[in-house]
Symmetry: none
Subunit: 210 residues, 4 copies
Amino acid sequence: MTSETISEPNKRGRPRSEEVEQAILKATVRLLDERGLQALTIEDVASLAKVGKTSIYRRWPSKGILALEAFLSEFLQLQPPIDTGSLEGDLNAALSAWVGAVAGTPTGRNLVALIAQAQSDPDLAIAWSERVVMAARNQHRSMIERAIARNEIPRDSDVDVLMDMLYGPAYHRLLQGHLPLTEGFAQQVVAVVVAGAKAGGAVPLTIHKA
Amino acid sequence: MTSETISEPNKRGRPRSEEVEQAILKATVRLLDERGLQALTIEDVASLAKVGKTSIYRRWPSKGILALEAFLSEFLQLQPPIDTGSLEGDLNAALSAWVGAVAGTPTGRNLVALIAQAQSDPDLAIAWSERVVMAARNQHRSMIERAIARNEIPRDSDVDVLMDMLYGPAYHRLLQGHLPLTEGFAQQVVAVVVAGAKAGGAVPLTIHKA
Amino acid sequence: MTSETISEPNKRGRPRSEEVEQAILKATVRLLDERGLQALTIEDVASLAKVGKTSIYRRWPSKGILALEAFLSEFLQLQPPIDTGSLEGDLNAALSAWVGAVAGTPTGRNLVALIAQAQSDPDLAIAWSERVVMAARNQHRSMIERAIARNEIPRDSDVDVLMDMLYGPAYHRLLQGHLPLTEGFAQQVVAVVVAGAKAGGAVPLTIHKA
Amino acid sequence: MTSETISEPNKRGRPRSEEVEQAILKATVRLLDERGLQALTIEDVASLAKVGKTSIYRRWPSKGILALEAFLSEFLQLQPPIDTGSLEGDLNAALSAWVGAVAGTPTGRNLVALIAQAQSDPDLAIAWSERVVMAARNQHRSMIERAIARNEIPRDSDVDVLMDMLYGPAYHRLLQGHLPLTEGFAQQVVAVVVAGAKAGGAVPLTIHKA
DNA sequence: CCCTAAACGAGACGGTACGTCTAGTCTTATG
DNA sequence: CATAAGACTAGACGTACCGTCTCGTTTAGGG
């Protein structure tokens, strides 16, 4: 996400200050980790960053989008590219990394808060989908496609379903908090999914039932 | 949930009016379905229900808890008890009923909004956990335990993991909205989980690995 | 009284709008005259002036202080400077002008209400004292001092006592309402005071008794 | 003032409790002296007196009337009947007693608050006028009439004006608080009034000017 | 000795206004 | 033109009391 979220930059006039931008993001990250998204106010960010509110609104249309960018600056570097050579190995590595990044951390709290916020902020929902959900799915998709290429699972397995079955349960525990989100849980989920996929459970229904 | 959400009832003084209670819940349900939780205000509820704000605060400590109760009055009757005789049949029926109740409906929107709200409202989080999550899990648990009793799946399958694998993916699609939440999807999820469970994927790791 | 009743003005940022200030005062005067101080609410003022409540609180710390300023904008122009050449003439003119301004008028009602309000609002009490009581006394004091200079009354007359004896009875009738407050009454009061003063009644006790 | 301020007592049914009445008055006096009329709430009185709000409203129609009765239970015994034999002696004694009762005392604060409250409470205004103003005036009137009978002052002096000139200045200092209300001040006022009256200043204008 | 009716404590009720907070926009002077 | 500051309108928040209204309970006569 570049700075010019709202409108094209203009060549004329005073250029936007990179320092202002960084000060805002830094203040946002700090407030986000200290108090959470819900308690974050644009006024507090402006005041902590020693910046006018206008300078924030000029760059980000809403608190959610701003928080998303601040969140990503922390989150992305925690999700390394993975290729272990086996489906179960890849999935275990990916899901474990994710669990490690979010279970019991401010990052995890922010992730949850952003999903929550996106439910009532359509712009954030779109940005979230494009910049987080899609990015992650592309990574996971290639793991599964490699597994298909290796004939580990049936050629016509429904990749989307498999991906949702990997991350769905993990998000579920993160959001509902009813049971702890551990690496052990992640490995169990992977085990069930891999077993189910190898047994052909993810083959599309129309074909499967035929 | 009785009226005395905040403190226990007192024999003395004028009793709380059941009509007032119903009027508030009715108004809340209506506003929730029309405008959603985010746009719901206590003042609007009071005004629509022709009730003083105090009569609401006397009963419910926050907008979230009020909305939860209103939500449950709609939601609960959409989740029938189920016993089809087979694990796959039970799970398909339960998950399909859930999908039918929430996919593309105001009820679904409210459910999502409540999960979102619970992320920043500890009281609501507790109430949500007790009144929704636990209630659902008890129902699902008995299905899986019947399956174990019928020897459909291994005796030592991790019931909690299996439940999270059923509802996790469905919640995931509902919350992230990246792909449609359909009955077909529900059946695929069930197929993978049942296949994985029968293959022993849900057996606890310590034992499984041994 | 400048706009910056609460804190000193700041050079930076958007300056306070003079139009807003006038709109608030105008609305306050109108509501004060229509309904009285007791029935005046900040919310009504804001709504009539088409102004946010904050814009009122930013300028005036309480309803009483706001009402005082609105009152003064009406009242001050009704109290002309006076110099007739004789003590009785001056006092008659001054007291008659006061009686004319307050007897049976909204201004009088507001004056009474402000005195009432000041009894339970220390800030208003101070402002009232400084901006009304002291201002009036300074005017009256000079009349009496001129009379002393003309040798109309004894040099050592207690000016404070004489002033309280002029306005005290008038305020008394205005506040207690037991008898009408007329110009005739004002002239009688002046007659007694002038007669008493000339007879030496206002000379301080210690000297008087000696 | 009897208990039945609002409506006739009824022979049938449970009689009103004298203890309740006293408990309410006692609580009112205490709260009045501790916090003042402005901060007095019916709810606090009820709670302190361990009495239902209804039991208060059954007896007194408003906070002002209740406070008036509580006030009088303290005040009346501080205003003794007076007859010294001379006008100046009578007036000095009466005014000094009044000053002693109200200057710097809770009683004085309550008296001021009641006058203030009466400005926006017509019922209280009437009761105040009848039970305080008139009672005092009747006492003072007889002093002046005795002085006329003794030929101390002119037969046709305006008694009402003289009375307002005695108490007006004293009320003035009590209410405006601009200068201390002392016995010395009271004596100066009396001196001026007596001197003015003897000089014929209080004779009605129409006759006086003729 | 019951019966009836009012008083009683408690506290719920519909309202109103409070003073605070935050949102997102607008308006200055300055760079 | 961007910037920092801060004023602007708007409107919800949760609280405090108001004066009224139920409750179940108590306390007296009158029959």
